[in-house]
């Protein structure tokens, strides 16, 4: 029973990270209809920067803040410099550009920081809680991860639903021409959307870094599972991204705990196919599905 609780809590904590990456991908998909494979590279870069800042200043929270700010800047930069040129073109071209950027960022990180994985400090203790005499694997740092991700998800939901800025961003994403006619600076909204998405992505990077170590290609699995989670929940739905991330985290945690870690990727495939066969647009899709 303790093992089941351990696996469940662990699943929620890793699932929260997948949720954050999925959220980053969903925000970009909603704004610009691009699957941003470069997200994995972007959060890797900001985590490396955080690692350097923590190493030289000794303060975890300074590194944390720097990573988030760098995420904002990097997201805006990527949208403005690269993505703007392929927006509205063939969808595959944008995918290739994102992949190219992922490869380029990983190569640059290898040049600057080397390919040897380095450790990254957690925000809080990773010694598990003792509850009623049993020692759990769930630690204060996991609590922090889950709380931060949920707080950010709620804040984003509030931003999109209740502020004028959020309304403008949604309008730009759903009906760019109409929004432009009504005076919304659509391009600026896209840039902001990318910046916010990269902000969430860099948060995920810093949160997951203690358990995966920091290396140029070390975050690839996080990106892949984040994308799987986003597809699972439905790419158009931010709540779907959060739920998809948690579901995926739980399933993968049970599979690796009870069946062994070699089946984890296969389990992700099975879950994804099972869900998509029933709901081809993801769990939270609103569109009518296609009949075959």
């Amino acid at each position: 029973m303790t093992r089941f609780i351990d696996l469940t809590l662990n699943g929620i904590s890793t699932g929260a990270v997948y949720s954050a990456v999925a959220l980053a991908l969903v925000m970009i998909w909603r704004a610009t209809r691009i699957v941003n494979f470069a997200q994995g590279g972007m959060l890797m870069i900001t985590t490396f920067i955080a690692s350097d800042v923590i190493g030289s200043s000794g303060s975890y929270w300074l590194g944390f803040a720097v990573a988030l700010v760098c995420g904002l800047v990097l997201g805006a930069l990527v949208e403005r410099v690269l993505v703007r040129r392929v927006e509205g073109g063939p969808p595959l071209n944008a995918v290739i550009v994102a992949l190219g950027l992922l490869i380029l960022l990983e190569a640059l990180a290898g040049m600057i920081w080397g390919n040897t994985p380095r450790s990254f400090p957690p925000a809080f203790s990773i010694r598990g809680y003792d509850v009623g005499g049993t020692h759990l694997l769930f630690a204060p740092d996991d609590t922090f991860i889950v709380l931060v991700v949920f707080a950010v998800a709620v804040l984003l939901a509030l931003l999109f639903r209740y502020t004028a800025l959020g309304l403008r961003m949604r309008a730009s994403a759903l009906a760019p021409e109409v929004a432009r006619l009504l005076g919304v600076r659509v391009g600026r909204m896209f840039t902001l959307g990318w910046a916010l998405a990269a902000f969430v992505g860099s948060l995920a990077g810093v949160l997951v870094a203690p358990s995966v170590f920091v290396s140029p290609s070390g975050f690839d699995p996080i990106l892949i599972f984040g994308f799987t989670a986003a597809v699972l929940g439905g790419l158009d739905s931010p709540p779907g991204a959060v739920v998809g991330g948690i579901v995926l985290g739980l399933v993968l945690s049970y599979v690796s705990g009870y069946e062994g870690s070699s089946l984890v990727t296969l389990a992700a495939l099975v879950v994804l196919i099972a869900v998509l066969m029933i709901r081809p647009g993801g769990l939270f899709s609103t569109r009518r599905e296609r009949r075959v």
Binding site: L82, V86, P90, L92, G100, I103, L108, L266, A268, L276
Partner: protein
């Protein structure tokens, strides 16, 4: 290499007519005869090339050939049927492991083993394709991505059968004795892979000009209109997936023969991604584009390695330089030539002949819709 008819200068003028009305004045009437002629022509060119090249380049010819087989199938799927697949590396793995098991353990001859690889991969393609035909765009990408990362882990789970991380090694293909004692193994491998590629050229060339090809294009361009015409959209898309899976199986099988190994390390996600990259970079929708893609896949890594080694940079920088160049090439090529190498060449040829590049309509078609699909490939 497959589309000499459509590359003629008449293509610009013909674009205004419906695709079926295009004339091909100087070529034999039947598609079968044209495909056969093309196969013979390309076969002779490949044969001359393999005789002229050294053993290292013969090996590169062989790998270019098996990549071409996979890319031709993938470009049929993405260019002609409008589906995206990030999972073709895993389909190649199915073909490679089939050949390795049959040739290595069961001592089958090469040709039946390759045929079995095609059949089994096509069977897997039926399953994946049936699932895929319900999905669109990014959802399909996500499902096939999970397929690409999920399948290779089977090799490690059932390491008794599939040899775990080390994979399965097979003996090099025996060079027939009538070729002489001194006939290099690499040239024989280039011939095997080249013949496989020719089979793919022949099959796809016939397929895209048949009723099946027209149904594929109809479904890609407008699913509702196609189903009103009586086409079963899901079935047509599944068929496209099966054909491209069969090509991937053949390519994977030939890869196992040429490398004499089937190991999970060769079929990582990066393989699937570079296949997709290659067809977009080459130019979607035509077999010539697949040819350019195969050339890029073979030559780009060795060029970037040469550049990295010739420069006097620190180890840390030069080790990552090939990757960096690859990334820059991808981004720059997509920004500069959105319709790929084949699209850029077509534009240059059109300019050189002072023929306006089709009509505006054609231009719009080839840069929008399901991934910049060229209509000239018909």
């Amino acid at each position: 290499m497959s589309v000499p008819a459509a590359e003629r200068p008449g293509a610009g003028a013909a674009a205004a007519q419906p695709p079926g009305a295009r004339r091909r004045p100087h070529l034999p009437g039947s598609t079968l005869a044209r495909s056969l002629g093309l196969v013979v022509l390309v076969g002779v060119l490949l044969w001359i090339a393999s005789e002229l090249l050294g053993s290292y380049d013969d090996l590169r010819l062989a790998s270019g050939s098996y990549y071409f087989a996979v890319l031709a199938g993938l470009t049929l799927l993405t260019g002609l049927s409008g589906q995206i697949s990030l999972g073709h590396g895993a389909l190649m793995a199915v073909g490679a492991y089939t050949v390795a098991l049959l040739v290595g353990n069961e001592h089958w001859a090469l040709v039946p083993a390759l045929a079995a690889a095609v059949a089994i991969t096509a069977l897997v393609g039926v399953l994946v394709g049936a699932a895929a035909s319900r999905l669109r765009g990014p959802y399909l990408a996500g499902a096939t991505l999970a397929f690409a990362i999920g399948l290779p882990s089977l090799a490690e789970k059932y390491s008794g059968t599939f040899g775990g991380a080390n994979g399965l090694a097979i003996n090099p293909p025996a060079v027939p004795s009538w070729l002489g004692q001194s006939f290099p193994l690499e040239r024989w491998e280039a011939w095997i892979a080249g013949i496989g590629a020719l089979v793919v050229v022949f099959a796809i060339n016939n397929l895209v000009r048949s009723g099946v090809g027209r149904s594929l294009r109809a479904v890609r361009d407008d699913e509702i209109a196609a189903s009103l015409c009586g086409l079963h959209v899901g079935r047509v898309q599944t068929l496209a997936f099966v054909v491209s899976a069969a090509c991937a199986g053949l390519g994977g099988g030939m890869l196992a023969v040429v490398l004499q190994l089937a190991a999970p390390g060769a079929f990582q996600l990066s393989l699937s991604l570079s296949l997709l990259t290659a067809i977009v970079l080459g130019g979607l929708g035509s077999q010539l584009g697949a040819l350019w893609g195969a050339i890029v896949l073979v030559l780009l890594p060795s060029w970037t390695n040469d550049i990295a080694h010739s420069s006097s940079l620190s180890n840390q920088v030069s080790a990552n330089l090939p990757l960096a160049i690859y990334g820059v090439v991808l981004i720059a090529a997509m920004l500069a030539w959105p319709s790929g190498i084949q699209g850029a060449l077509r534009r240059i040829i059109a300019l050189a002949r002072r023929i306006p590049l089709g009509s505006k309509e054609l231009d719009k078609h080839s840069t929008s819709g399901s991934g910049g699909v060229s209509h000239e490939s018909t």
